[in-house]
Symmetry: D2
Subunit: 165 residues, 4 copies
């Protein structure tokens, strides 16, 4: 489906290795459920410890999942030996983040050697009913646009030179 | 310092009660360190379980703290019996989120009966040196702008009517 | 294609009447090239007086077209007698805004009685070659997400009550 | 007031020369009213041809002024021989853009060798009364955050390499 051509033949392993280092993803019990050039879907079960005042998932938890989905979508197209960091993102919260699990679908909108722009949709999946009547519903709860920077090495956000200013 | 006049004389208690219900804030070990009309500062210690691939705090953890700071800054000016929910936010990630603790300073830019706009700066505080030579440095790591909606009751994001569409 | 059901049977006339009052659209020589429930495409020819320092279209000109496309997409689903105003938007500038004409395609992502979220893509169309060999190319130059508020009457941005604060 | 140290001693001339090439600024009758390291204020008179449906300034016109203010604020700190282009911006529209003139105050939040983040406030100035009783009021109508990229030469947005993908 994706028409992007990865620069790094080992992109899938690179994504999985980096994802395994993100302790936030482990904390959220998130996993990679789809991985293709320019496309990464992450899923996490609802868990009560990431709630806001009404018990819905906190916008920051939703944003964590979407930010990583966009980051890894960008990373699928990055050259070997690089790292990808978010420069900025904006999230629109469309509906209460409540459900059995959340799925963030990150997609590359425009790749670049320096900057990549991605878009993620976050869905809440809920199951209802019993046995044969059991049905699952999916609802769009948030949408995020992100700008990501591709760096030669695994360094701090923006540039190392920037830090010395 | 703040020139905003709260509509709810019990705003401080209302903020503290709502904050205590946000399980995400407890998960981050966040606390309220400043509370005034239109102004809320939240602080959280660095903790390794909210990291990204390089060990810095994940952008979603930084965003959680800033989103709640902006939300409670807006809530200080809301009428009694209302709830405040983020409609959207945008965060610029300015420097690696690394330090001993993070402080998100949420400020109301423009209050409204329906929509309120807030701005938050997130700082990383780090201490270095020993004894009398111990010094603390503060670095700006992110800035967030948020749009929040004030609702009459504690209901889902956006409107209850919206959900029936 | 659109699955949205308009609340106002006269939505097309309402959009056209409002569009005709936007002097900025006349200044840009913009026109409505697609109009359906939840969908509005606006097109404008490249014109040299809206340039930035390199002669490309200024980001503000691109944003004008996208903001109106999103606003009118939202307006197609609004009740009769209402007005729609942008609360905020974010635009990612993906490529130089250069071409023969620009087309902004605004789409409703989530409609609401109070707030509607839209997404617009802006394309640059360019023609090359002569006669039978003439070909047109389309390039994505920007993407915008917008939050819009639906108001009962034609009033100022946000609420009239807000202004009295 | 500004604590930024410009990398280009001729920054003021560089800003004025680039500003003079932005035909959009001439179209809006905008002028530079403040110029210092990391700080640029642009002003433009209200003009009816840039209106939205209620006669207020179109959000795109407000965004044009703020985008250029942020761009030139970033440009004051850029090295000689570079160009600055907006990668993205987000604008919150806080009040109707109506008044005698608009002033966009762009400020650098964080400069970088590659990316710079700026923040702009846009005010509407209005005069009322006659003679000695004449008073001017200033109202905040919008706030914008921008990410800008500094390029070695005057080239297209993002990278020239990017375009070849």
């Amino acid at each position: 489906m994706s028409s992007w051509i990865p620069a790094n033949a080992g992109f899938a392993d690179a994504v999985r290795a980096s994802f395994a280092r993100q302790s936030m993803m482990a904390t959220l019990s998130a996993e990679i459920v789809h991985l293709a050039p320019g496309e990464v879907d992450l899923a996490a079960p609802f868990a009560a410890q990431f709630g806001q005042q009404n018990g819905f998932w906190h916008a920051g938890a939703v944003a964590s999942l979407a930010d990583s989905a966009n980051g890894y979508a960008a990373f699928t197209l990055a050259a070997a030996g690089t790292d990808v960091l978010a420069v900025e993102f904006k999230i629109n919260l469309l509906a209460p983040a409540v459900g059995d699990r959340f799925v963030a679908c990150g997609r590359v909108v425009r790749p670049g050697r320096t900057l990549t722009v991605c878009q993620a949709d976050v869905f809440a999946d809920s199951a209802a009913g019993e046995g044969a009547a059991r049905e699952s519903t999916r609802k769009l709860v948030a949408t995020m646009s992100s700008t990501l920077i591709v760096r030669r090495q695994m360094v701090d956000r923006l540039t190392a030179d920037d830090r010395s200013r």
